[in-house]
């Protein structure tokens, strides 16, 4: 077990060592492959002067805002469509036609509407993360024990409290999966919009570092983006396990 872990580290460690040696000896071009030690220093400095954290905050803020809006739309629409087969037959085809539009194609449009800034990025993120939430919500609502809904009907529960007390809790565990997928999408789209043109956040930081010929900073930021993505995913998994999965048993009973 311990040995297996060791083997996994072998290739990365060897690569980094070769990289460092190659950069020191001069076989690797310094304007693209700055040495790992320089990258570590650049990353540490960017962390200390706060620029990296500021960019991270900007990116995550935007991603989370977009995710929140997209989630609300996705769940609302998903519940309606999931509960009513007629509605699905009527608006489903239109949605299916819009869905394959790559979210990034909306970047120029969002820019045209809002100009640079948070709002244009949020618009693109919302479009991207509505779909996973919507699709999962529809199938989650379909999967609800039909008797639960019958009981609610019999009790003459008003539609809104029927949603809140029966439909949402019963479907929540599965919807959470959709939100997690959406969260990953939101972060990726945020970084992408920033790399393409929006002057804020981690993506923009990387592009600027590359364009101002500071490859060591760019690599440091790339590593940071990877780490941030990984940490974010871990956080969501934990939230999901701690607080949302209990609905699973509640819904199945």
């Amino acid at each position: 077990m311990k040995l297996a872990r060791f083997r996994g580290l072998l290739i990365p460690v060897v690569l980094v060592a070769l990289w460092e040696i190659g950069a020191r000896v001069g076989t690797l071009p310094p304007d693209t492959m700055s040495q790992p030690s320089a990258i570590a220093v650049a990353g540490w400095n960017a962390l200390l002067d706060g620029s990296l954290l500021l960019e991270t905050a900007q990116t995550f803020q935007t991603a989370l805002l977009g995710l929140a809006i997209g989630t609300v739309i996705g769940i609302a629409l998903g519940i309606l469509i999931g509960l009513s087969p007629v509605l699905e037959a009527v608006i489903g085809p239109t949605l299916d036609t819009i869905r394959p539009v790559p979210a990034v194609a909306l970047i120029p449009l969002a820019l045209l509407i809002y100009g640079f800034g948070v709002r244009m990025e949020v618009l693109v993120i919302v479009f991207a993360c509505v779909w996973p939430v919507l699709i999962v919500t529809v199938s989650a609502v379909r999967g609800i024990e039909p008797r639960l809904i019958e009981v609610a009907r019999m009790l003459e529960m008003p539609a809104l409290s029927r949603m809140r007390r029966i439909v949402l809790p019963a479907a929540m565990a599965r919807i959470a999966v959709g939100i997690r997928v959406g969260a990953g999408v939101a972060l990726v789209v945020a970084v992408t919009v920033e790399i393409v043109l929006n002057p804020q956040g981690l993506g923009y930081g990387m592009i600027i570092a590359a364009q101002s010929l500071r490859p060591e900073l760019m690599w440091a930021q790339l590593l940071w983006v990877g780490f941030a993505g990984w940490a974010f995913n871990r956080l969501l998994t934990t939230i999901d396990r701690r607080w949302l999965q209990r609905y699973q048993t509640g819904g199945a009973r």
Partner: protein, 255 residues
């Protein structure tokens, strides 16, 4: 029952038509500034004009081709790597942590280093597309090759099948549905990254064209471009679904 189905289909068409009609009315009434909300008729006219100028098929082909190359590259590497990791313990032990680190990296974050290495070229675009499109195929292939029926593996071992032959004749067909699931996700990602790299690196293509349309405030052309990109996504996905059905027909036949 059938009458109801037809009614619903009609209703679906009517809904789509109503959306377009409302869009037309809202645009004509200038509820929203026509600078970024052109009417459907203006958008369609822009589309026709694009076609006449030769600004439709060539950029579309450029985008589709780059997307295709990256996707094929990703699919080949993904299936090979997925098979190797799934069927061989040592390979898994050596590669898994590295891949686990690379996987959550947003594919577009690769663009700045890719530009440093390869410049603003098509090669850079294809590399980025392939990198981003790799992961779904890799995961699908890994899962597919791992869940090969153990009895089949035992049979093959008893028959002294060579491991390459086993992978090709037994494991691959059984992993194919999972691979296809991954490959389909990859295709969507490939289109997204094709558009992104065009915008970032000024490569000819639909993505670059819509960015140019935005810069000069030609919003009908921008909308037309977005629609064409949507159609491209829709059709490539449909084509893949049809191929999948064809290739996997034996599955439904044997059951």
């Amino acid at each position: 029952m059938r009458g109801r189905g037809i009614m619903l289909k009609l209703a679906a068409v009517a809904f789509a038509a109503a959306v377009i009609y409302l869009w037309q009315i809202a645009a004509d009434a200038r509820l929203i500034s026509p600078v970024f909300f052109p009417s459907p008729t203006r958008t369609f006219a822009a589309l026709v004009a694009m076609e006449e100028r030769g600004d439709l098929w060539r950029p579309m082909a450029a985008t589709a081709l780059r997307m295709f190359y990256g996707w094929v590259l990703a699919s080949l590497v993904g299936v090979l790597l997925g098979a190797a990791i799934a069927r061989s313990g040592p390979v898994r032990a050596y590669l898994e942590p590295l891949l686990e680190f690379l996987r959550p990296l947003p594919a577009s974050a690769i663009i700045p280093p890719a530009i440093l290495f390869l410049g603003l070229t098509s090669k850079m675009a294809v590399t980025v597309i392939a990198f981003g499109a790799l992961w779904p195929v890799l995961l699908g292939a890994y899962h597919g090759f791992r869940s090969v029926e153990p009895q089949l593996a035992e049979m093959a071992a008893a028959m002294r099948m060579k491991s390459v032959a086993f992978i090709w004749k037994v494991a691959l067909p059984s992993a194919l549905p999972d691979i296809f699931a991954g490959v389909r996700v990859s295709l969507a990602i490939a289109l997204i990254l094709a558009v992104v790299t065009e915008m970032q690196a000024a490569q000819t293509g639909l993505g670059f064209n819509i960015l140019m349309a935005q810069r000069s405030f030609r919003s009908p052309e921008l909308y037309a471009g977005i629609i064409v990109l949507g159609v491209l996504g829709l059709f490539t996905n449909q084509a893949l679904v049809m191929t999948e059905r064809r290739l996997l027909r034996w599955r439904t036949l044997t059951r």
